[in-house]
């Protein structure tokens, strides 16, 4: 087990900063997700931790020890690549045993020991009986698990997974997700995985690192990043967001010339963006101080209906969720108020 510290790391590719002054503490035994849109620097960060690339600036520490001069081989990490990178001329068993077989003879376990270990790992990833197969004779999900078993075989101090379920269908993803969580709880490895699927990150990780454009936007538990997003980006990126340009005046939220019945204690006065979740609202009848919208569109979601509303004389559009049997028709009036919301200052 091992904690990993990323300290003020910058990585430039031909002067383009793929990572910009990133710092992160990964605790020992933690399952942590790097979440962000494409191109936000997730893979870059993971590769730096692995030692596959070197940072332009900053340091990476393994258990408090500077790892800058440690080669990939010395870092003892398990890396699972997005496209598995299995050795296709080797059987499943040979793939898994590879990391043990290449050890110098002084530290290499004896042959039967290796065989036993491979069998255990196969058992662990539920692939017993497939040891003689070649990678191209396996399904995507099976290859994924071989890659994981291969990385685990060397008993890495840290396990790094780059979009481990990226290439799989939704059902297999779900299964493997659950399996990875159990697997992590059982083995207790420090694990970092990359994903751009927010649901996956929230469900699986102890902590989620939200990244955008080479920077870390927020680090926190699923509850933190979902309920208390630290920036408009995080609010938009994680979960659904409805957003309105409002104003804070005298501790109240105003939309144009009306108060909307939300108390903005402690929020900075002036132009702000109001964020709320479409499903996290209450409906009101009659509107003394609330949002007053006209339905202009409606879509069926799995468990609800999503309405598109026009506010302030068709200036603004927001989305709210209503129960499937809600009678709202097009052009009808809906009065509502968000139950939870967040304000971020906006430059006018």
């Amino acid at each position: 087990m091992m904690e990993v510290t990323v300290s003020n790391v910058t990585k430039e590719f031909a002067r383009f900063p793929a990572l910009n002054d990133v710092s992160l503490d990964i605790r020992s035994g933690e399952l942590i997700a790097l979440l962000g849109p494409s191109g936000s620097g997730k893979t870059t960060l993971l590769r730096l931790i692995a030692g596959l690339d070197q940072p332009t600036n900053g340091k990476i520490l393994f258990g408090g020890e500077d790892a800058s001069h440690k080669s990939v081989q010395e870092r003892n990490i398990g890396f699972v690549f997005q496209h598995y990178a299995l050795f296709r001329h080797m059987t499943v068993a040979e793939n898994i045993a590879f990391g043990l077989n290449v050890r110098p003879s002084s530290t290499r376990p004896p042959k039967n020991e290796i065989r036993k270990r491979v069998a255990e790992l196969l058992e662990m990833v539920h692939l017993s009986g497939l040891e003689k197969r070649y990678p191209n004779q396996l399904s995507g999900g099976q290859r994924q698990r071989v890659a994981l078993a291969r990385a685990m075989a060397i008993e890495p101090r840290v396990l790094l997974l780059d979009e481990p379920f990226g290439a799989l269908d939704a059902k297999v993803r779900k299964e493997l997700r659950k399996w990875l969580r159990e697997f992590h709880d059982r083995t207790g490895h420090t694990t970092v995985f990359v994903t751009h699927d927010q649901e996956e990150a929230l469900e699986l990780a102890d902590r989620v690192v939200v990244m955008s454009q080479g920077k870390i936007e927020q680090v926190g538990s699923a509850d933190d990043v979902y309920d208390k997003p630290g920036s408009p980006f995080v609010h938009r990126f994680i979960g659904e967001a409805s957003e309105l340009p409002v104003r804070v005046e005298n501790g109240e939220v105003w939309l144009d010339d009306r108060t909307v019945g939300l108390k903005a204690d402690g929020a900075a006065e002036g132009p702000s963006s109001l964020f709320f979740r479409p499903h996290d609202i209450e409906f009101l009848s009659g509107c003394g101080g609330c949002f007053d919208g006209v339905v202009v569109g409606s879509r069926r979601l799995a468990g609800a209906r999503r309405l598109e509303l026009e506010l302030g004389g068709s200036q603004y559009r927001v989305e709210v969720d209503v129960p499937v049997d809600h009678p709202a028709a097009l052009r009808s009036q809906i009065n509502f108020r968000p139950k939870h919301w967040q304000l971020f200052p906006r430059s006018a």
């Binding site: 690549f81 050795f87 001329h89 290449v102």
Partner: protein, 285 residues
């Protein structure tokens, strides 16, 4: 069309969804028949005019045997050497970027493009006892031209592009991540090359070897000048065929040709079997 071909029991591969399988297969077979099979059949037909004992006596003729041995032996050695250095050249061309890389890349094709006789004359001039290179070896009493060593050098020259051009595209496709995976698992550079990279190139290397070898066995133009063509020492089988033809001994010529054909065919068959086996396992090859 696909449904009819799918029902034929002798098909070897699943027909693809792309239509026109029957048409393209028919055309390919007709074309191959015209270009390759009919001339070969003619050859065998010609040889079959010989009685078995006549055939056997030509086959066991010492000069024939010596020529066959030289042809296949030098081709084999040349192909093996080409495999080693061809793969090395591929590696340099694929993995490193250096000034002149494109030039070297283009140079590899020279043996394809050069008329073989030109190559042969140039090589024999270089390697003759008084030639630029040959002169270096004369003091040690090593003769290159007019010996099997000279033949081998000519065949190395001719065969190199076959290996490079077969292995290069496959090497270019090797995923960088596979190497990185090996490194994260603790493999050093040497282990990565010999346990991961080369084995995955093996099918391509074998194809390159087979092509270089087959070409070497049949090579004539570039060899006859440097070989010196001394019977029993440096006379290759294709040359012996020409000699027999010039003697109007058509039966003798076709008999030697048939033997070469059979041996070459057997070797290609073996290599193809190895390849289809590897394709079944690794899904490439």
């Amino acid at each position: 069309m696909t449904s009819t071909t799918a029902s034929t029991r002798w098909r070897l591969k699943e027909p693809s969804i792309i239509p026109g399988f029957g048409l393209t297969l028919g055309f390919s077979l007709a074309y191959l028949g015209l270009i390759i099979l009919i001339p070969l059949a003619g050859l065998i037909f010609r040889a079959s005019s010989l009685s078995a004992s006549e055939f056997l006596s030509i086959l066991t003729d010492e000069r024939t045997l010596a020529a066959l041995k030289i042809s296949f032996g030098t081709a084999l050695i040349a192909a093996l050497i080409n495999v080693v250095f061809g793969v090395l050249i591929c590696w340099v061309l694929v993995r490193y970027d250096f000034p002149g890389r494109r030039l070297i890349d283009a140079m590899v094709d020279l043996p394809f493009a050069l008329p073989t006789a030109v190559a042969g004359i140039a090589l024999s001039a270089l390697y003759a006892p008084k030639g630029w290179i040959g002169a270096w070896f004369t003091p040690f009493d090593i003769r290159i031209a007019y010996t099997p060593i000279g033949i081998t050098i000519a065949l190395i020259f001719i065969g190199l592009p076959f290996v490079v051009r077969t292995v290069q595209p496959v090497m270019e496709e090797i995923d960088r991540e596979v190497e990185e995976a090996a490194a994260t698992l603790g493999a050093n550079r040497f282990q990565t090359v010999f346990k991961v990279l080369l084995p995955s190139l093996l099918p391509a290397i074998m194809t390159g070897f087979a092509l270089a070898f087959a070409r070497g066995v049949g090579e004539y133009g570039s060899v006859v000048f440097i070989a010196g063509n001394i019977p029993y020492v440096s006379e290759i089988a294709p040359l012996l065929i020409v000699i027999r033809l010039e003697e109007f001994n058509y039966a003798g010529a076709t008999a030697i040709a048939t033997i070469m054909l059979v041996i070459s065919f057997a070797m290609l068959l073996i290599i193809n079997l190895i390849q289809s086996w590897s394709r079944g396992r690794y899904g490439h090859g």
